[in-house]
């Protein structure tokens, strides 16, 4: 049994207004923060369920989770200590890094938080969409604070939200993170509904996505002095070489170890389902975790069988792809037994990576045989 890694939202509130954001406020109450009772229940029930011989990872998310303040997170750590039962507990936080004062930095450093942030490219590209409420770009602030976090010795990485506007910026994106010495991953811009996906100015076609990823892969793969990891590709190579389904996108059914807990305690499969009442699996404050994990919604998601998906069962990339993200399939078809919207792009990417690795191994073999 895999331990549950809860994605815990301290709040859905955010100080930024990114153009493509999918997070909605809490029913007109954007300043709502997770109450102490919900926080206590979250920590105690997760730690009670998980196997203490393996680490438990709490993933703090939002909105902008740091808006909850260090008092909230000190409370979380106190509950972790109270309910640990000997657990090795790790904390990660996904933050926009725009409100990082010395108090917060000191807290994160003292408590060894892993820090994830978001940068979409160089300043002009990033600032076009990742703005404050007042409409100001955030690149300079995020860049400066990313370096502060790194200089403080914390583990830090970044997500790039790939969309039509930064699709052609792969060289700049790679150079930016390479120069910073910061690992990153690519997430295609997310849409909660099919209609949004097909009407948004940010949408890319699956083919555009795949070709951009191949360009990025080559930049990284053939960098003779590579200094960083691109999480997306490391996971694919890991899967290719070790059948280790590390990335939720390509795990077939991600529900073995992930839950999302909203500030009010409602539990969803992940944040792609957030605020969709039909996917609420229970409430962490009022239901037992067993009841939540046994909910019909979760069982339905876990029963996804990509081997029964017509488009997948004879696909040569099935072992690597496993149908892709089930939500990305569901949005297209309203059926979880469906391939991901990004199927064509994923196929291009997997095919490209396999060819590149195979070419290199063959080159090394031929050189050896000629010596």
């Amino acid at each position: 049994m895999q331990n549950i890694s809860p994605i815990v939202k301290s709040t859905n509130d955010c100080n930024l207004r990114c153009s493509y954001c999918y997070v909605s406020d809490d029913n007109g109450n954007p300043r709502f923060f997770m109450p102490d009772g919900v926080l206590s229940s979250t920590v105690s029930k997760i730690l009670d369920y998980n196997n203490p011989s393996q680490p438990t990872e709490f993933i703090w998310h939002g909105g902008e989770p740091l808006l909850a303040g260090t008092d909230f997170f000190n409370g979380a750590l106190s509950y972790q200590e109270q309910y640990s039962r000997g657990h090795d507990i790790e904390n990660s936080i996904q933050t926009n890094l725009t409100i990082l004062d010395e108090k917060i930095l000191s807290f994160l450093s003292r408590n060894n938080f892993r820090v994830g942030t978001s940068i979409d490219g160089l300043a002009q590209t990033h600032d076009a969409n990742r703005k404050t409420k007042a409409g100001r770009g955030t690149f300079d602030t995020v860049y400066t604070n990313l370096k502060r976090v790194k200089d403080a010795g914390l583990k830090v990485g970044a997500i790039v939200t790939l969309n039509r506007q930064n699709l052609g910026e792969m060289q700049n994106i790679y150079s930016l993170f390479r120069d910073l010495g910061v690992n990153f991953r690519i997430n295609p811009v997310f849409y909660a509904t099919r209609e949004e996906r097909y009407t948004s100015d940010f949408s890319m076609t699956p083919r555009e996505y795949g070709l951009a990823m191949n360009e990025l892969f080559d930049l990284w793969f053939f960098d003779k002095d590579h200094k960083i990891e691109i999480d997306t590709f490391v996971n694919i190579l890991d899967n290719l070489l070790h059948k280790n389904l590390g990335d939720c996108h390509y795990s077939g059914s991600c529900q073995s170890g992930i839950l999302l807990i909203d500030p009010n305690g409602d539990v969803y499969p992940c944040d792609k389902f957030d605020k969709k009442p039909e996917f609420v699996m229970g409430n962490i404050a009022t239901d037992t975790l067993k009841r939540i994990l046994d909910s019909p919604i979760r069982k339905s998601l876990m029963s996804r069988n990509v081997g029964e998906i017509d488009d997948c069962k004879s696909c040569e990339q099935l072992d690597l792809c496993n149908g892709g993200c089930m939500y990305d399939g569901f949005v297209e078809t309203e059926d979880f037994n469906a391939k991901s919207y990004f199927c064509e792009g994923d196929f291009l990417m997997f095919d490209h990576i396999k060819k590149r690795v195979s070419e290199q191994l063959e080159r090394a073999r031929i050189k050896k045989s000629n010596d």
Binding site: I59, L237, N244, C248, G257, C325, L361, R365
Partner: protein, 73 residues
């Protein structure tokens, strides 16, 4: 390759996934142009229950499904 390299696994996957397969016992690693792959072959790519022993990959993560909404630094 050092002793930690998971050569049998690589060979097995090579047979399964790569056309024609590749004999990984007989490679000139210096001929590999990819910095990523060269590091992988040199340092060994050896996942353990705790994570990965090699320098090219993550060092402290357990092997399990990870959500995409967070970068794992």
């Amino acid at each position: 390759m050092n002793k930690m390299t998971t050569q049998p696994q690589l060979e097995e996957v090579a047979r399964e996934s790569f056309t024609g397969g590749v004999d990984l016992t007989n490679l000139d690693i210096e001929a590999v142009e990819s910095g990523v792959l060269k590091d992988m072959l040199k340092s060994g790519y050896a996942p353990t229950e705790e994570g990965y022993s090699s320098s090219w990959s993550r060092t402290s993560y357990t092997r399990k499904v990870r959500p995409c909404r967070l970068i794992w630094p």
